[in-house]
């Protein structure tokens, strides 16, 4: 099985890492770039596929040269055989559509068409969740999103996945598609290794990864738009139909609010709470008390 994982670099939004200016705008220069946290699940799914069925895993990203480290991070966190960075000034300021066109062109440029392409669910900054499905629109494979577990039948060349319906953990359906396929993993995705053999293979892969990750650049291929044969008019800012008219900060809740603590046993106090709630929603406390 050859799988490709799409991953993006995002600002490190963790406390102590992220930095905002006075107007509440993100200071990209001061905030380190890390691998999009949700992409971990896509990587785990690819790793599970490799452990169970062999083959290799490629990790691909479109972004500035600084994303190299994101690819290294991806290689460190799970085994990856090779890394692809699609990077070029013409690709800057792409919206999800232009990103999807670029990524799909890069995938088609690989020596061999992969069996499965994995994308994560939403990035920590853009948060559209569009890029995966849009890239697949160009590739035209069966698409399964919100995947929480998967099983592959190599002989039948089918993939059976459990997925959340409408992203709801309460509602799970199982779907089967033929390979090659495009899979978007849900953050609820849990890899499963129920045999000792699988866990031993996993251990081998992790050991090998630890060894090669410092030399990740030896396994890295960088492509520009000419390498992947795309017309500059369809990528980057020129290829992006989305126009951002303005960005408004979300109003903050007032920092100081008055609070009165009421013990549940305090009947009079609870009555006051009830009245306050009723008046807030425009009801009648006395009526509520009536029955």
């Amino acid at each position: 099985m050859h799988t490709v994982v799409l991953t993006k670099g995002v600002p490190d939004f963790r406390e102590g890492q992220v930095s905002f200016d006075e107007d509440g705008h993100l200071e990209r220069g001061k905030t380190p770039t890390v691998m999009n946290p949700n992409d971990q699940f896509a990587l785990e799914a690819a790793l599970q596929t490799r452990v169970r069925h062999g083959g290799n895993v490629s990790v691909m990203s479109m972004g500035p040269p600084g994303y190299k480290e994101v690819l290294q991070e991806a290689m460190e966190s799970v085994y990856a055989d090779d890394l692809y960075l699609v990077s070029d000034r013409e690709m800057a300021a792409a919206d999800t559509w232009a990103t999807a066109i670029t990524l799909s062109a890069a995938i088609e440029n690989l020596d061999e068409m992969p069996d499965i392409i994995f994308a994560g669910f939403k990035t920590a900054d853009g948060e559209t969740g569009h890029t995966g499905p849009q890239a697949n629109w160009c590739l035209d494979m069966p698409l399964v999103t919100h995947v929480i577990s998967l099983d592959i039948d190599e002989e039948e060349r089918t993939l059976r996945a459990k997925r959340l319906v409408e992203g709801d953990i309460e509602e799970i359906e199982t779907v089967e598609v033929s390979l090659p396929a495009f899979v978007v993993t849900d953050p609820e995705f849990v890899p499963s290794y129920r045999s000792a053999g699988e866990r031993l293979t996993l251990k081998d892969l992790r050991a090998a990864t630890t060894e090669r990750a410092p030399d990740y650049e030896d396994y890295l291929t960088v492509w520009d738009h000419a390498d992947i044969n795309v017309d500059p008019d369809y990528i980057g800012l020129d290829g992006s139909p989305t126009i951002v008219s303005s960005v408004d900060p979300i109003p903050k809740a007032p920092a100081e609010r008055e609070a009165t603590m009421v013990e549940p046993e305090d009947v009079d106090g609870m009555q006051e709470v009830l009245e306050a709630m009723q008046s807030a929603v425009g009801g009648d406390a006395a009526a509520a008390e009536g029955d």
Binding site: R194, A196, R199, L200, K203, D204
Partner: protein, 554 residues
């Protein structure tokens, strides 16, 4: 047979016993899988610990793992003393001769460091056979087909079958119990060990213990400082920490309703220890574990079908007087079990591995150390209550005291006789009365005062690392009446009477005017010592893989 995943050899547990078994299987080229429940080998283990390489042993840890002493152990122990205490009076004997008897070398170890070092080597060597070592896998029991043991079941993996299974899963072995070889019913058969690892820079150790780089000291304590509970204390020097602890007979602990942490504190704060602990006591870790008493529980036939039981799991833990030998015997037994299987297989009778293993334990002299004939012969007399009473009253009488004084020049020599120390009866006399009388009659008072303030139980629990398996407690109390399970409140090393933050608590339940005394259990602070499996009525298992307490030192 069903199409389960299969390995030729399966080893459960990656302590010294499991590591030795796995390395020996690998030496024979046998495909071997090792399953360990801890997140890393050693993260669940506690030892005193001095590991011995006995001259008479067919296998030692450094034979099987070259580089062990340089990389995995702490210090060679070159000084060995026992201190008899009564009040502030001390009479000390040099036991270096006893310590060096049949000893090629003896090093202090810390189990997290030692076992994780072994883990890497074992994985590397078993991987070459097509197997390997996996951590975070809790073996829950045996897999049987048509009544025969064929493999194991685990919490994390699908069942696995094997041609030979070595249970090296330590004290409270779930496999030995499942096979019907061990029960956890009699407190008389177990010791409880409690330990603190204390921070101390290398140069301070050199200074306070008067030891060089490749030297180390062991100090043992017995007498009247432990509320009459049978057992003693130890202090061992590591590279830049100290190991301090106590080992008590579990039945005695229960009978005296003693609090293990208080007994440990009694030792830590004793004025004699002030010279070593100084006034900068920093405790790094508090831990505890049961210890089998081989004299009573070492299995004479530690096997059942394809299952071979080694180390603590088979009760192979020898208390040779004050000297505790468990790790070395686990190593020997583990290697012998693997050897027995390899021999049986080469004769085309692999089903005879178990009986061969038991035979090797006898022919290599291991059994004789674990169950000394002298102890067995004299036990009837020396542990007889009537005889004990007479000995006790003579010893504490004017005559006995005069005898001790008369013997004063000989006592140190007598303490150093290995045959005597292996026959020590399991009574109050050798543990409490004799040391106390010796100290009273011959001892000199200690001048120092202790400024050690040990952490409270709450602080000790707070300093431990846990990955709690929320909603899935590994121990359940079957009978919560005070009569059935009340002993655990005091005996559990992380519980105490009038302490609400431990595992076991006393509760009074009022029903229709009458009041019932019961116990409740919260496994969150559990250090998985095994005590309540024996002293309370519980359904006792280890937590799932990776879950529960994680010792950093051990």
């Amino acid at each position: 047979m069903s199409d389960y995943e299969h390995y030729e050899a399966l080893v459960v547990g990656a302590g010294p016993g499991g590591a030795a078994a796995a390395a020996t299987f690998a030496n024979y080229g046998i495909e071997t899988l090792v399953l360990e429940r801890g997140a890393e080998a050693g993260s669940k283990n506690v030892s005193g610990g001095l590991i011995y390489a006995e001259e008479s042993a067919p296998y030692t840890i450094d034979d099987l793992f070259p580089g062990f002493r340089e990389e995995a152990s702490e210090r060679p122990i070159t000084k060995y003393r026992i201190h008899n205490l009564a009040g502030d009076k001390v009479e000390s004997f040099d036991l270096t001769k006893l310590h060096e008897h049949d000893t090629e070398w003896s090093d202090s170890v810390l189990r997290r460091k030692m076992d994780s070092w072994l883990e890497d080597r074992v994985h590397e060597r078993t991987r070459e056979t097509g197997g390997g070592l996996l951590t975070g896998v809790h073996v829950t029991g045996l897999l049987r087909e048509e009544g025969k043991i064929v493999g194991v079941e685990t919490d994390e993996l699908d069942p696995i079958t094997a041609d030979v299974i070595v249970a090296a899963d330590g004290v409270n072995s779930e496999l030995a119990r499942d096979a019907g070889l061990m029960d956890w019913d009699e407190p008389e058969e177990w010791f409880q060990g409690v330990k603190a690892v204390v921070d101390m820079p290398n140069d301070v150790i050199a200074d306070r213990f008067d030891v060089g780089e490749d030297e180390g000291a062991a100090h043992l304590f017995s007498g009247d400082l432990f509320q009459g509970v049978r057992g003693g204390g130890f202090l061992y020097t590591n590279r830049d920490t100290l190991s301090l602890g106590t080992v008590f007979h579990l039945d005695s602990l229960v009978a005296e309703q003693a609090e293990p942490h208080e007994l440990l504190d009694a030792m830590l704060t004793h004025p004699l220890l002030a010279q070593w602990l100084g006034d900068d006591y920093t405790e790094l870790e508090y831990s505890a574990k049961l210890v089998p008493d081989s004299k009573k529980v070492a299995l004479r036939e530690p096997h059942f079908g394809r299952l071979l039981v080694v180390g603590d799991a088979a009760g192979q833990m020898q208390a040779q007087g004050p000297i505790i030998k468990g790790m070395n015997h686990a190593v020997t037994a583990g290697a012998l079990a693997a050897e027995a299987y390899a021999q049986a297989k080469s004769r085309n009778e692999p089903e005879k591995a178990g009986t061969r293993y038991a035979h090797l334990l006898r022919s290599e002299g291991v059994m004789q150390k674990l169950r000394p004939r002298g102890y067995e012969m004299f036990r009837g007399v020396t542990e007889d209550d009537g005889v004990t009473d007479i000995v006790e009253s003579v010893l504490t009488s004017f005559v006995g005291r005069a005898g001790i004084r008369a013997l004063s020049g000989q006592l140190e020599r007598l303490y150093n006789v290995p045959a005597l120390s292996s026959m020590i009866p399991d009574t109050q006399t050798p543990y409490v009365t004799l040391p106390t009388v010796i100290a009273e009659e011959l001892g000199t008072p200690v001048r120092e005062t202790s400024s050690v303030t040990p952490p409270s139980l709450e602080e000790r629990i707070g300093d431990l690392t846990y990955d709690t398996d929320i909603g899935n407690p590994h121990i359940t109390v079957l009978d919560n009446s005070w009569e059935a399970s009340g002993a655990a409140v005091a005996a559990c090393p992380v519980s105490a009477v009038d302490f609400g933050g431990g595992c076991y608590r006393e509760e009074l339940v009022r029903t229709n005017g009458s009041e019932e005394r019961v116990v409740s259990l919260d496994t969150q602070p559990c250090v998985e010592c095994g005590t309540c499996a024996v002293v309370a009525d519980t359904e006792w298992t280890h937590p799932r893989g990776d879950k529960g307490v994680e010792f950093k030192w051990g």
